[in-house]
């Protein structure tokens, strides 16, 4: 079953704990970012693990691959040459290169942690959820107050 990071925008207080947890684990390199989408909407931006990932197609050395069974798009930092092709290809702008090591930072869904991604575990209000795709559709995760009344949300 493919699990995904889903954001419930109604619950996000914009504290950046997700980014801090990611930085704390990956030596100061955040793989989830906190983006200003418009004047009034701020959201954590994580890798979507796309069905047809453009980063995989763009990578000239097959460093980024997709696990067909779980839908998990992963990367080996060891082989990355830092060409930035994936950064340019990503339609969501969630990939970036670290300035020090010059290699691209790709969310690994914290595959070294059995309980799931750290950003989800740390989210102070439970805005980030790590759920199965079917559950997202069934329970309408992320569809709530903010979707109904966007004008009520403020920065």
């Amino acid at each position: 079953m493919a699990k995904r990071i889903v954001l419930r925008l109604d619950y996000c207080i914009g504290c950046q704990a997700c980014e801090a947890a990611c930085r704390s684990r990956f030596k100061g390199e955040a793989r989830i970012r906190y983006g200003r989408v418009t004047e009034t909407v701020f959201v954590p931006l994580a890798c979507r693990h796309c069905e047809e990932p453009l980063c995989v197609a763009a990578c000239p050395f097959d460093v980024i691959r997709r696990d067909e069974k779980t839908g998990f798009v992963y990367q080996s930092n060891f082989h990355c040459v830092g060409c930035r092709s994936c950064v340019l290809a990503c339609p969501f702008g969630v990939l970036d290169t670290d300035l020090l090591r010059s290699i691209s930072q790709k969310c690994s869904l914290c595959n070294d942690r059995a309980e799931g991604p750290r950003c989800v575990a740390t989210c102070p209000t439970g805005a980030l959820q790590f759920v199965e795709e079917e559950e997202v559709v069934e329970k309408k995760v992320g569809v709530g107050f903010a979707a109904r009344l966007p004008h009520r949300r403020r920065p």
Binding site: C15, E19, T122, P124, R154
Partner: protein
């Protein structure tokens, strides 16, 4: 690889967190079985592992910026103590000192025969130490099951993890109500059913008027006058009073930040008064709450500037002298001893002694919800010595029980508010600078502190866009910051983050005339457009 459990030291929510060590680096672990936070941590809590082996940790005593041995440092302190009278000695304790250590420091001051024992934690949140007679503390279950909530100030930025149960309670039922009173429309205000925006620093008057609307028998409060001072409409407060009526279960929470509150003591007491009149329990959100000491910080400043203090112990937290920019008189103190976790950025005169961080020692502390024990998750950093060890080498002292709370009656609060209101409407300079405090970690995140928030109206008035920078000049400092245009601040108000020391330095420390307490209120500033652009101009073929 074992996980060591502890309680997060960065605010008073008492979040349980774990730290593991794999022989190479410390990592944060999220304990899903914890009662208070269910494994959740805020950015500050997430950076706890960075403190343990931070490259800037101090591992040896410094004398005038140069490394010395512990024997020489202790010897020097003893000789300095011999050269001063007990009345010329001041002992200041600040963030990072646990309850046990403060009791020991109190005993230490008695052993040395000085009455100059001062609390150096001058953040306004420390005023929650003052309590109304009838105030009742809220339990976590009361917050989780609340149906009517009032938040004063930016609670979500003070304790982001405490925001979890508040938001869940807010969404639990369509009829549940959340009221927010603040001078800045923060992200928290976006969750409110009713947001009341006051003039910066005048929240107390809105709160006193709200208390009077909740209880008609509360005499001595002119509601319309107080609404006028706070810049809010009476009908807004009447709507809030209806939502918070004593019949609805809930709680009142209050948070105060540096540069945001003019009268910290009254702010704390007025929030509690609303809680009492609404028949609700109260939570004072903040990073620390410490006993007031035997002398106030304002008195210490006066004594230092008069040259009456010859020697000072500053037993503080992360850095020596928590407010160095705000304390220019310090040059008059001949002998200075400070404790620190991190290496000071500039060589400081006097001694700076390295101490273990809060994560490296056993202590007991009070969270909002209960008493908690903090266990060490790592061995003390090499070369550091604990505060009890240092004090024990200087003088034999016993622990002396601290004062738990300072009780205040309702009559005194009403009288205090009347006195403040008598001074008339708070002065409105052309530009008022207020402070915003975010829960940000140690490993970066200072980007937001590099910019100044300004309303769209003012941006047009000054003819600036987000490409420009503004020069802000306050009575005690000057800074140049990038413009950030937002409707979160009122016209005529500018706001900056106050985690960064250089931003804090713009706010002068003042002494309140009514209560004699130390406050860091919003400050009137001069503003002008800078010649410099916020970002470098895009590269062109010419400049390459």
């Amino acid at each position: 690889m074992s996980i060591k459990r502890t309680t997060c030291p960065f605010c008073r929510n008492g979040c349980e967190s774990g730290v593991s060590f794999d022989g190479y680096q410390y990592r944060m672990e999220y304990l899903a079985d914890s009662q208070v936070n269910k494994g959740r941590l805020c950015p500050r809590g997430n950076s706890a592992n960075l403190v343990i082996d931070h490259p800037k940790r101090l591992g040896y005593p410094l004398l005038d910026g140069k490394e010395v041995t512990w024997e020489r440092a202790i010897g020097l302190i003893k000789s300095w103590l011999g050269a001063v009278e007990p009345g010329e000695l001041a002992i200041v304790y600040g963030r990072g000192r646990s309850g046990d250590e403060i009791r020991l420091v109190t005993g230490f001051a008695k052993a040395l025969g000085t009455q100059n024992l001062v609390c150096g934690h001058i953040e306004p949140e420390n005023s929650f130490f003052f309590r109304l007679d009838q105030t009742r503390d809220a339990t976590l279950d009361e917050v989780r099951t609340a149906r009517a909530m009032l938040l004063v100030g930016d609670v979500f930025s003070t304790s982001p993890v405490a925001a979890g149960p508040i938001i869940e309670a807010r969404y639990a039922d369509r009829k549940n109500r959340l009221v927010v009173i603040d001078s800045i429309r923060t992200r928290q205000a976006g969750f409110a059913h009713l947001f009341i925006q006051t003039r910066p620093g005048t929240e107390v008057f809105a709160l006193m008027a709200l208390a009077a609307l909740l209880d008609n028998s509360l005499a001595g409060i002119d509601i319309d006058k107080f609404c006028g001072i706070a810049g809010v409409e009476r009908k807004q407060l009447e709507a809030a009073a209806k939502m918070l009526a004593p019949g609805n279960v809930g709680f009142v929470g209050s948070a105060m930040h540096l540069g945001r509150v003019s009268y910290p003591r009254l702010h704390s007491l007025a929030s509690q008064l609303v809680a009492v009149k609404a028949g609700k329990p109260f939570v004072g959100f903040g990073e620390a709450r410490m006993p007031q000491g035997l002398m106030s910080f304002a008195q210490l400043r006066q004594a230092v500037s008069d040259g009456r203090i010859k020697m000072m112990f500053w037993l503080g937290g992360l850095y020596p002298y928590s407010y160095p920019e705000l304390f220019p008189e310090m040059g008059k103190v001949q002998y200075r001893v400070a404790t620190s976790i991190f290496r000071p950025e500039l060589p400081l005169p006097g001694l700076v002694l390295p101490i273990p961080s809060e994560l490296e020692k056993e202590s007991t502390t009070h969270s909002y919800w209960s008493e908690v024990n903090r266990h060490p998750v790592a061995a003390p950093y090499s070369g550091t010595k604990s505060v009890p060890w240092i004090l024990g080498r200087i003088a034999q002292a016993d622990e002396i029980a601290e004062q738990t709370m300072i009780p205040v009656s309702v009559e005194e609060v009403v009288k205090m508010a009347g006195k403040m209101a008598e001074a008339g409407p708070v002065e409105q300079p052309e530009w008022l600078l207020v402070g915003e405090k975010k829960a940000i970690g140690i490993g970066g995140f200072y980007d937001a502190e590099e910019r100044i928030s300004i309303s769209p109206t003012d941006a047009r008035k000054l003819d600036v866009t987000e490409e420009n920078r503004l020069v802000v000049e306050s009575p005690c400092g000057k800074a140049e910051l990038a413009v950030y245009i937002t409707d979160a601040v009122m016209a005529g108000v500018l706001s900056i983050g106050v985690n960064a020391h250089k931003n804090r330095a713009l706010f002068p420390i003042r002494t309140c005339h009514g209560t004699g307490e130390t406050a860091v209120p919003p400050v009137g500033v001069k503003v002008e457009k800078s010649e410099m652009m916020a970002r470098p101009a895009p590269e062109t073929a010419e400049n390459g």
